[in-house]
Amino acid sequence: MREVAVIGVGLSEWGELWRKPLRDIFVEAALAAIGDAGVDKIDSMYVGCMTSGLFAGQEHLASIMSDYLGRSGIPATRVESACASGGVAFRQGLIDVASGMNDVVLVGGVEKMTDVSGDGATYALATAADQEYEVYHGVTFPGLYAMVAHEHMARFGTTREQLAHVAVKNHRHGAMNPRAQYPYEITVDAVLKSVLVADPLRVLDCSPITDGAAAVVICPLDMARKISKKPIVRVAGSGHSTDSIALHDRKDLSEFAATKWAAERAYKMAGVGPSDIQFAEVHDCFTIAEICVIEALGFVKRGEGGKAAESGLTALGGKIPVNTSGGLKSKGHPVGATGVAQIVELTEQLRGESGKRQVKGAKRGLAQNMGGTGGSTVVHILEVA
């Protein structure tokens, strides 16, 4: 297996992009990544997208994107794994390069979510849950994570304020990210007074609806050393795992086992453990998700995730900064793009390009991207080569 490096990264504009079509949003990010990499050939590409069919009525995405990128003819593959589509697409690109099948691979992720009504978006996102045995009974995605939160609070004493601190911390980071959809700070009080969506989760516990794309260019590490003019970032570890998509089928309702398993695989491949990770981008689709995920990744002990944001452990300047980009909460969550955007943030941090939110001396970071209520998870570890 060949070692793989990330040599180019790019994001499109993120937000409510009513004037931009799905295809142009993707191409915007892809061109940024190709320009950053300074390459003129792309051997193959992967497109992470959860449900352009329901959001935009458009499938057959890999072909349309390669065409509009001006690369018609190259092998292109669309990858779907709910909200983990982007991260899983990155892993497919990694496997493509590592295997020797292709050298220069573009991995993009995209979602255009604001063309449909709020009801339409709720419906589209709920397809990541079990249609017949969860959604049929009236549960929504905020509702599923609310049930995770309720269980975690009852078992470990996690408080409503601790949930709010996750959102406050991520908005504080996002306020330093000029590309975030909501780049401003919020207060614990504002979270606690925001509208209830599904008890105990309020609207400021939830990530937003976003149009946006992210893209990266990867190639063999040996080639990167020859052609790249930027600090080289290598992919040290990759882990991927699945679990039941119905929350009620899990023995433990607030442990994301797929995250634990994916992380174990990524740590093993990289030859490191949780204490060797300096910073991370994790899937904070809801505040409770970040709490459970940092437990599953081994950053804190089981049951202690609630204290992490409150105590400053996971803030910039803390022991392990989490979601320096602002996370899904503040940066935005165009679902298919999110996993790729995490790789963009990691790469920029490792190159020292993150401006005000730069993690000092960043040498190794981790990205965790999950689908549904944790029915799929992919974890990557990136290092300065």
């Binding site: 709720t122 709920a126 045995y133 969860e134 009974h137 009236g138 549960v139 929504t140 309720h150 209830l196």
Partner: protein, 130 residues
């Protein structure tokens, strides 16, 4: 809701039909073709217990369109006696009195309706055990 999709789940939704693995005894709801525990492919048809306890719940305040007329409503994960857990609405109880660990029983109720001309969908909900 497409009628065929609704119709084929009726044995589970109306009668709580599950599959009990003839190899290891694991109860699967809905029934499966392969036992996730032992890999056996032979099952005996059984009916789930209609009583259990609330493991977790929430109150949905922003509901999908088919449920907007019911909002706010409680949804929980209930572990039925025998070990199978299901997602179900919790009804006939004040929303602020629901407790984790509370005993409930399953009743047959209307679940949702598809607009003015759509089909009515039935199934299980839980209510406080007497």
């Amino acid at each position: 809701m497409f009628p065929a999709r609704y119709w084929r789940e009726i044995p589970q939704r109306y009668r709580l039909e599950a599959g009990k693995c003839k190899g290891c005894g694991k109860i699967c709801f809905p029934p499966r073709l392969i036992c996730p525990k032992c890999g056996n492919r032979e099952f005996e048809k059984i009916k789930l217990s209609d009583e259990g306890v609330i493991k977790t719940y929430t109150v949905i305040r922003v509901a999908p369109s088919q449920f907007s007329g019911q909002s706010p409503y409680a949804v929980g994960i209930v572990e039925l006696d025998g070990g199978v857990s299901i997602t179900t609405q919790i009804v006939d109880v004040p929303l602020d009195s629901i407790k984790l660990g509370q005993r409930v029983k399953i009743e047959f109720r209307r679940i949702q309706q598809d607009g003015d001309a759509g089909i009515l969908c039935y199934g299980y909900k839980c209510v406080p055990a007497a």
